[in-house]
Amino acid sequence: MAGVAVSTTINGDNVEYLCQPDETLLDVLRDRLGLTGAKEGCGTGDCGACSIILDDRLVCSCLVLGAEAEGRRVETIEGMAHGDRLHPLQQKFLEHAALQCGICTPGFLMAAKDLLAKNPDPTEEEIRFGLAGNLCRCTGYDKIVRAVQDAANVMKGA
Amino acid sequence: MVEVTLWGSLGTAAGGKNKVDIEAKDIRELFRKLAEQYPGLEPWIDRGIAVSIDGVIYRDTWSKELPQGAEIFLLPRLAGG
């Protein structure tokens, strides 16, 4: 099976890699590029733990082929903070204890970032439906929703 | 001498008794004497028995003393999540 040569942008950096035609972008990120922030919880798009942003669209990287990233812009959790300065969402997740085990956290942060980019002032219901593609089994979502509300307030003020 | 209460199934293994009197100063001695006097209990002790002393459950502290007059209750050793 011939590999596919891909040239793409990940978190602002130009990246080139060779992948198999049936290899998912999630596998490429984790196994070829060492970006293990995106997690595989299901591999079928049902849990959202592998969420990334692809050309300004939130997607499950387990449902994207590595080959499809050619010429596109990929954002992952590893690119969310600026240097040692956390994104307001990251900071609020910490302050509100919006994570327990933390396995779903990278996916939630990417989804919340996408949500607030499209809707800077969401209602609780909009947050809940906006994050419905991300499963969390530890928190009952309460503290996650509060963290996103709080981050939205901070980001509006900024 | 302490009075030891056995839970239902353990009582069956001890020949239908649900209370036994044992001369024991701590949990270790209690288990040793129980096994001597009621051989049917030995496999249960091997698998794990917890001891409740006045309502406090001890699973592993075999050195725990058994105070005179205390309520001693044997329980299955449980699994948790």
Binding site: M1, A2, V4, Q20, P21, D22, T24, G43, T44, G45, D46, G48, S51, L54, R57, L58, V59, C60, C62, L63, V64, L65, A67, E68, E70, A111, D114, L115, F129, G130, A132, G133, N134 | -
Partner: protein, 286 residues
């Protein structure tokens, strides 16, 4: 295995027509990659159609709308004109999967996956949508309900690709709606669903109606008898009850992990009633 990203629909069709093993079309991938992951399909050829010009666009023409095969469902929701004309179709498309899946999945993929529970299909059938099919024999336009022939099966021949979905321009006083039943609030496959499309006269009397029921038979059902119940009415209580009864009666559902025969039958009627009420209000009926 090969991955190819052709630049024209003809090339894509040619690749598929000339393939020897299993060939798969990749648009959003939200069904294909799941099936690959589960080992249900191991394609020898994957044809990614997203680089084909025009396939990622929604075009508004004098006849209505043409939605390209590679347009993600999220984009449908962002099109104000489409949402205004066909709110039922858009809400159905926007119910497929999560936000993450919305960024990838397409209505053509939803149609060609040929699941009786596909969310967008009852709405498209009720809307009278058509599919533009390109293949080795050229281009043809067929009704969307002619595409799926059974669970996982379509009428498309080897080498054929759906290029776009066509929706008519709306006459005045028209409205559509789609409702599905799922146990949770998001993320589930429809247990049963209903799409209703209505056009009223100036008095608010239903003149044109199409009613479709999903997940109640091997393919989505277009229930003509239900449309007849609605035509000539102003959706009074008795009409709605008759509609529910007719829709329940039209169902030929199965028992499975998602629901029972009795449940699907009963709820199909309930959803048809509720969708009709919404469609009627959207058409300006009171």
């Amino acid at each position: 295995m090969r991955y190819i990203r052709p630049l024209s629909i003809e090339d894509a069709s040619g690749l598929l027509a000339g393939s020897t093993g299993t060939a798969a079309i990749l648009a959003g991938g939200s069904d294909l990659l799941v099936r690959m992951k589960g080992g249900f399909v191991e394609p020898d050829l994957i044809v990614d159609i997203k680089a084909i010009e025009g396939l990622s666009e929604i075009r508004e023409t004098s006849e209505g709308f043409s939605i390209g095969a590679a347009v993600p469902c999220a984009v449908l929701g962002e099109s104000k004109a489409l949402k205004k004309a066909w709110p039922g179709v858009v809400e159905a498309a926007n119910l497929i999967g999560s936000k993450q899946v919305q960024g990838r999945c397409t209505i053509v993929g939803n149609l060609c996956n040929a699941s009786p529970a596909a969310d967008s299909v009852p709405a498209l059938v009720a809307a009278g949508a058509k599919a533009v099919v390109v293949g080795p024999g050229g281009r043809r336009t067929i009704a969307v309900e002619a595409v799926p022939t059974g669970p996982g099966k379509t009428s498309l021949a080897k080498g054929e690709i759906i290029e776009a979905i066509l929706l008519d321009k709306r006459p005045p006083r028209s409205g559509d709606a789609y409702l599905r039943f799922i146990p949770r609030t998001e993320m589930d496959i429809a247990v049963v669903s209903a799409g209703v499309n209505l056009t009223l006269d100036e008095q608010g009397v239903v003149r044109v109606a199409r009613v479709a029921v999903g997940a109640a038979a091997p393919t989505v059902l277009l229930v003509d008898e239900a449309a007849e119940v609605l035509i000539g009415s102003k959706l009074d209580e008795a009409t709605l009850e008759r509609l529910a009864k007719v829709c329940s009666g039209a169902c030929r559902p199965i028992d499975d992990k998602r629901g029972t025969v009795e449940f699907r039958r009963k709820v199909a009627g309930v959803l048809a009633k509720r969708a009709a009420t919404t469609a009627y209000a959207r058409a300006g009926g009171k």
